[in-house]
Subunit: 174 residues, 2 copies
Amino acid sequence: MSQSLTKIKKDFTEGLSQISRFWGFPKGMGAIFGVLYLSSTPLSLDEIVEATGLTKGAISTEIRALARMGLVHRSSKLGDRKDYYEAEPDFYAAIRSILKERQNSEFDRAVRSVKDTLEALENNWIENDEWNFVYERVQALQDFFDALDSLTKAVVRLESLGVTNVTKILSILK
Amino acid sequence: MSQSLTKIKKDFTEGLSQISRFWGFPKGMGAIFGVLYLSSTPLSLDEIVEATGLTKGAISTEIRALARMGLVHRSSKLGDRKDYYEAEPDFYAAIRSILKERQNSEFDRAVRSVKDTLEALENNWIENDEWNFVYERVQALQDFFDALDSLTKAVVRLESLGVTNVTKILSILK
DNA sequence: TACTACGTTTAGTAATTACTAAACACACAT
DNA sequence: ATGTGTGTTTAGTAATTACTAAACGTAGTA
């Protein structure tokens, strides 16, 4: 049994849609990225409409999110009003970019609230077992987040997060 | 201005709810964990109802998910029919546990679909530029997933992922 | 100036997900 | 057996999120 390339591509993008959903992104996002990732040339908005079955509007907003994360790049050809989009082929670069994005978003705000809790505890201190317990716990969470934060910052700083570094890390974890 | 401990706890759990949502989990899940995390004694289902404002049903199902991820532990007292729940205080242990959980779920299925694409391409091979291009791209994604997979497997295997290992990793990434 | 070809925004709808309330099942005590 | 106190399941509802269709804005063209 022989499958056409379009069929194979379709299956692939469906898979990416599921992966996208799994990580908490809209499934359309995965589909859009999939289409671009398998295209050897940059695609226009209309071509993506054609390939995914989504509408211009949806693609317009989601592709902007993808661009912000550094997963796709927008370009334009001279003498052509259309924008063209292509996928970032280097996933390690993409990861760094996503982490960078996440740092200045909701997450930071939420993490800050842990810090706030800690301060509230300090400012209203009452010496008893429960306060000690709660303080200790919140402090532990704070430490954990700090470690996570240094880790992501380090990864973001890295120009060369790639297979080599990953294998280095693996050797430590051995 | 002085805040009561209950107020502080409430703010804290709200923060955790947001963090929970950010990572794609129901916000109630974060709230439940937060309440347990700040309690020095294991709590019964009804006590969690009281503290979170959710219903028994919701908590019953979500706490099962939390337990599966290793974020809370269930216990029971002799001569007491109630179950009691407490939070896992070691976040590194929790991470390992979550990763382990994720391995056997949706994600694996999705990742497998990339492998399937690769095989479909090999079985229907036509030598031309586009097939070469597509094959190369899918292969690159596969490699990336493989690296990710080894990484999580390594972390899961580790009994001692903790601050020390994390700082070791940080030193590599320097 | 008006027309055209595009991307964006908006207002509404469909689909999904989180939750509630209440029925249920089970274990234990009487 | 019957009743009582548990956690669980289920069926329905509320809230959220993803998407559509169509109006809009804008830059280039005649």
